[in-house]
Assembly symmetry: C2
Homo-oligomer: 563 residues x 2
């Protein structure tokens, strides 16, 4: 496996895989996927959903200073609703909607327009599974046996994508200043997505590390990346990340605004914040987390909590409100914010500033009061034809996870729910990728659209590259578990092919179909490193005599001959 | 942290912790617990359920050749229903029931006898939480807010333990030849337990490694340990493990029986198996996994599966049946097996030889047909007053996990369910501790009594010490998540205390209350190693200006002064 994520040559490849492109209705719609070659006599390959962009295309070499190819440039230009307001060496072309015109996908969707972005995501979601099912007529009914009768394969059409966006049930993140981005869709009718947080704090990290982390995160499978940098050089770091990001990028703009006022929350103002939003929108940030749901009257209840306010943005705004005895300017200026969002095609991610930070605070007044405000803001944004996601908790005991999903859908009219975890116990710092994955699989099953990863370093420190990998893979498997639980028949094909490989002792196929081939192979090779062991009918777990798979194969033989 | 698990001095200690003993109604009932000292002004300590035995008692030093103190010896002798049949330097005293008399806890429970073992587990389950709630009258209602109205604290009495055992809803594992064992209880009315598998295969490992692994597993929190050794010197390894095990030990006796016939399944016989059972029972194995649910008529259906039979014991017996065209001798000799079980007080763990090994095989005919047979065998064993656990799947998609728990309870009359995982996707080898923890938390919530851990090496190779730790901690947190989901109010106290420490920036308290203090501290110290950072009001994740907890504390101050 070749993973040169040094900055001179960013690359992320998987073993036995090749990058393929599926063409859409026009030649510049080229949807990148990863074809994994296997030696299964019935299924010679599997086509995986792929978030790694051209970093995994062996025919391309990316110099980070130049950034990625601008695949959406021509689509954006062809809509004739934007103007180029600046163009310079450092930041490439900067566009805005002509006269503040709405350039977001919901606006187009409501007019019945199927954009190239919508077509792209339809092709991407389908992963060529339809063709596979057509080639193997018995496969669907076989997989249905285990997933249940309701398990069906839903072929996604471009118009279905459009409808879901128009109804607000899905969002297609797409800042007009992020033409490098490969379109993807977030909504409960689609594959469950994951987000990886990166970004430096004032204590640690630097520009080069962050770019490498972003490429690394998308290589392993992050569907979106949030740059949560605080400290120095936020803008420079972010620009380098966006120019090299094949996935949508999100931020929490209040962090940069706070840096501008030297970290003193009470010195924040609408004007400082507004300017920050515009600067970030012009760089190409695809979605903003905005803590507009914090209302002055609801803040004091949080002082009674075990762990107060654990959202950074939430805590900042609460302090601001208490100091000034004024309403949260993110709430009072929400319509002004809408103006900026529509001009650049940015999507709202309405922040859960009051998410519970401990089991003891789960589902309390502060949390639910904020969620109601988010519902109200969603309705407002939709009237302005702007896309919205709703951010969710936090720390929640497992038996109350489902009611959070239901409540969010009810109060926010089925806007895509985007949750951090939830973390289902407080007692396992250093293992919170797992405590949260348990909650995340459950909430993903109950129609949460995107899961924000948690790394092993949560509550303890800034994640490094290993933590990012552990977090991304943990959430990839979690999202997949949710897809299976949602009875998505197409998703179960990969499980089926991997299990066939496992049963046939095709060790390399088993590794290569897995989410982390490198680690699976490494673990296997710790005890049986020889190449010959890759076809051995056992592993070190049981040894040859006790391998149930081997015994079971002999059973198949006996069953044939004796009965 | 001092973890000398070299064999000359086995030791396992936690930081800021001291071993305490709670005395029962007689002076030789001394229930070991771990008191964690913290600097919380309201709560100076927390008393944790403790599986590490005297290895964590700083006043004791264990030489592995001598083994642990025999705390149950006098209780067993006092019942006057056993006879000493041999006594030798190597294997200590060997007992059996006089004239094959039943020496198991169900037999006593049904007669209304409360054994010292039952009293011990009642004290142990309560963890002194009652005293804590009495001292802090508001605590229960505070915790109830997040866990829900139905969340109550159930004080466990010795007679309640007896009733649960008599009804078959709980088992108290207790071979009369394992007097070193600290009694514990497995049942849906009690704390969710976890099992760790250890044992060498013919490919790897050795005696000393296995003893160290066993001590290591119980130190980190395993409630029972299964020795799944295959290969050479099984009996010697097992004896050393049992003599040093403060927790119940389980085995799958068919493995040793197969070694005796040189690994050729068709050469197995009832006689070889019977002798193996007796030998292991005389060594002190507390529970046997017995694959008696495999019936000849149901075997062939498994040949249609994607992954056949993945249980080693199941595959061995299926091969035997097909070869001899005879009924499984574990089934046909079940009553003879009962004779042995009762004579030594061994508990059945009825094996799921037909557990699905892939998502594609979940909940299929083979699995359910076997479960029905297990129900029939449970009824039979109960008539003989012998305790039973039911083993469960396997690979199951998340949305079908609950129906497995319900089905097992229905078909097997609420005998304690003991599950491996379930693993909820096949596509993440190297991360199957997580894919399975997601299923395990869910099935634990739905009244599964014990969860068998899965390590990151599952499907790939034999786990080493690091894997055992990762597996045990993953399942400790999973069991705890299930306890919270079952609205066990007492369980949530630890979450509450840890979150208080987190909010107060008592970093060391946060580490010490966690399941793995060493790793939590290590992760924190990677970026902020200085001792002064242990009281700093931030960590490297956000840095000082952006720490929501710090901002939130200032909010509390402002709320006090301004409103």
């Amino acid at each position: 496996m070749n993973k040169q994520t040094t900055l001179s040559a960013l690359r992320f490849t998987y073993p036995n895989s090749k990058k393929i492109y599926i063409q859409g209705s026009q030649s510049d719609i080229q949807v990148g996927m990863r074809e994994i070659q296997i030696s299964d006599s019935l299924f010679p390959s599997y086509i995986a959903y792929d978030t790694s962009g051209v970093f995994s295309d062996s025919n391309r070499l990316i110099q980070w200073e130049e950034g990625l190819p601008k695949i959406r440039e021509s689509w954006i230009a062809a809509r004739h609703d934007t103007q180029v307001i600046s163009k310079n060496a450092e930041q490439t072309t900067v566009r805005r909607g002509i006269d503040g015109k709405n350039t977001g996908q919901m606006y187009y969707a409501k007019q019945g327009i199927i954009t190239p972005e919508m077509e792209y995501v339809a092709i991407r979601e389908n992963q060529q599974i339809q063709a596979l099912f057509e080639k193997h007529p018995g496969l669907q009914s076989k997989l249905q046996k285990s997933l249940g009768e309701k398990a069906v394969h839903k072929f996604i059409t471009s118009d279905f994508v459009r409808q879901e966006i128009a109804a607000g049930r899905a969002v297609l993140l797409s800042n007009i200043n992020h033409p490098e981005m490969e379109p993807m869709i977030i909504g409960s009718a689609f594959l469950v997505k994951i987000n990886a947080n990166i970004g430096h704090s004032s204590i640690d990290s630097n520009l080069e590390q962050e770019i490498a982390k972003s490429v690394w995160a998308t290589g392993w499978g992050a569907d979106t990346v949030m740059d949560l940098s605080t400290g120095k050089d936020i803008a420079t770091t972010r620009n380098a990340i966006i120019r090299n990001a094949p996935v949508p990028i999100g931020t929490v703009p209040i962090y940069e605004a706070l840096e501008k006022v030297d970290g003193i929350a009470e010195n924040l103002s609408w004007e400082v914040y507004r300017d920050t939003l515009i600067e970030q929108a012009e760089q190409g940030v695809d979605y903003f987390t905005i803590h507009a749901g914090i209302k002055e009257k609801n803040i004091l209840a949080a002082a009674e909590r075990t762990t107060g306010i654990v959202s950074r943005g939430g805590a900042i705004m609460a302090n601001w409100c208490l100091h000034h005895k004024k309403e949260n300017f993110l709430y009072s200026h929400f319509d002004d914010i809408c103006d900026i969002m529509q001009t650049y095609g940015v999507t709202f991610s309405l922040g859960d500033g009051m998410r519970p930070g401990s089991i003891a605070d789960a589902n309390d007044f502060s949390q639910i009061a904020e969620l109601k405000v988010l519902g109200e803001l969603t309705t407002h944004a939709w009237k302005r034809n702007i896309q919205v996601m709703i951010e969710g908790p936090g720390h929640i005991p497992l038996h109350r996870v489902k009611e959070n999903a239901i409540l969010a859908n009810e109060l926010c009219n089925n806007a895509p729910f985007y949750t951090l975890g939830p973390i289902t116990t407080d007692i396992a710092p250093a293992y919170d990728h797992i405590t949260s994955a348990i909650g995340a699989a459950h909430i993903g099953w109950h129609n949460t659209s995107m899961l924000c990863y948690v790394t092993p370093k949560e509550h303890l420190g800034l994640p490094n590259k290993d933590d990012v990998r552990e977090g991304v893979i943990t959430y990839k498997l979690t999202a997949h578990i949710a897809d299976l639980a949602k009875q998505n028949l197409a998703a179960s094909v990969r499980d089926y092919l991997l299990s066939r490989a496992r049963f046939d002792f095709r060790w390399n196929d088993q590794f290569n179909l897995s989410l982390d081939p490198e680690k699976a192979k490494y673990f296997h090779d710790l005890t049986l490193p020889k190449e010959s062991a890759k076809e051995a009918q056992f592993c070190s777990m049981c040894g040859p005599k006790f391998c149930s798979m081997r015994l079971s194969q002999s059973l198949k033989e006996q069953a044939k001959t004796k009965y």
